[in-house]
Amino acid sequence: MIEQEFAKTVAWLLRIQAILAALSGLGFAMIGGMGWALAALIGGAIGVFLTVLTALRVGLALGRDPKVMVRAFYRAMALKFVLAVIMFVIVAQWFAGYFLPVVTGYAATAVAYWLAMRKMANLPLSTSETE
């Protein structure tokens, strides 16, 4: 049951992230043309990719012993951070002219987490969800 809840939340999160990345791409297409739009979409794609990767790693440990869950969680977050740094270094080194739209695209995908948190805050914290 909790696996389904997690999968549902992640699917919702990814959908919102894709929409926000597309919106930022559209915004930058109007401001700076196709190059900027593509850069914003790449930033969004980085955010979506990192979310998928983290969700897969966290999801695999779901429902196990809390110690295992926390270990898997920290490992997933460390991997996410390292991959993000590598990707942003690549972007900064070779696509420096498009850095602002890339970071904005990524930041747009981070907004999805705020929305997800707001959505989760409205859900009841009951044990029936875990059954």
Binding site: I2, E5, F6, T9, V10, L13, G47, T51, T54, A55, V58, L62, G63, P66, K67, M69, V70, F73, Y74, M77, K80, F81, A84, V85, F88, V89, V91, A92, Q93, A96, F99, V103, Y106, A107, T109, A110, Y113, W114, A116, M117, M120, L125, T127, E129, T130
Partner: protein, 99 residues
């Protein structure tokens, strides 16, 4: 000759200040993330020990909060990477030197 030495001095000054700022950005990102994840993990374990049946659900909520926690420090580190590898603050000096 004198102008090129002055130019090199200006570039060195900007790069030195950039290095300090990049260091501060890394430190702030590391401290913020470390404290955030430490509190998040400890509270999760505390809650899971108190109510084990909620552990799965708390993990879902922890995932969402961790996404936010990570995102801000990643954006900071991304800007630090930009300053390190393609410093835009050197642009005006390079333009002045070229023109």
């Amino acid at each position: 000759m004198e102008a090129s030495v002055e130019l090199a001095g200006l570039i060195a000054q900007i790069q030195a200040n950039t290095v300090i700022v990049v260091g501060l950005m890394f430190v702030a990102a590391a401290i913020g993330t470390a404290f955030g994840f430490a509190i998040l993990g400890s509270k999760f374990l505390e809650s899971a020990a108190r109510q084990p049946e909620l552990a799965g659900m708390l993990q879902v909520r922890m995932f969402i909060i961790a996404g936010l926690l990570d995102a801000l420090s990643i954006i900071g580190v991304a800007f630090a990477a930009l300053l390190m590898f393609a410093n835009p603050l050197l642009g005006p000096i390079q333009q002045a030197a070229g023109g």
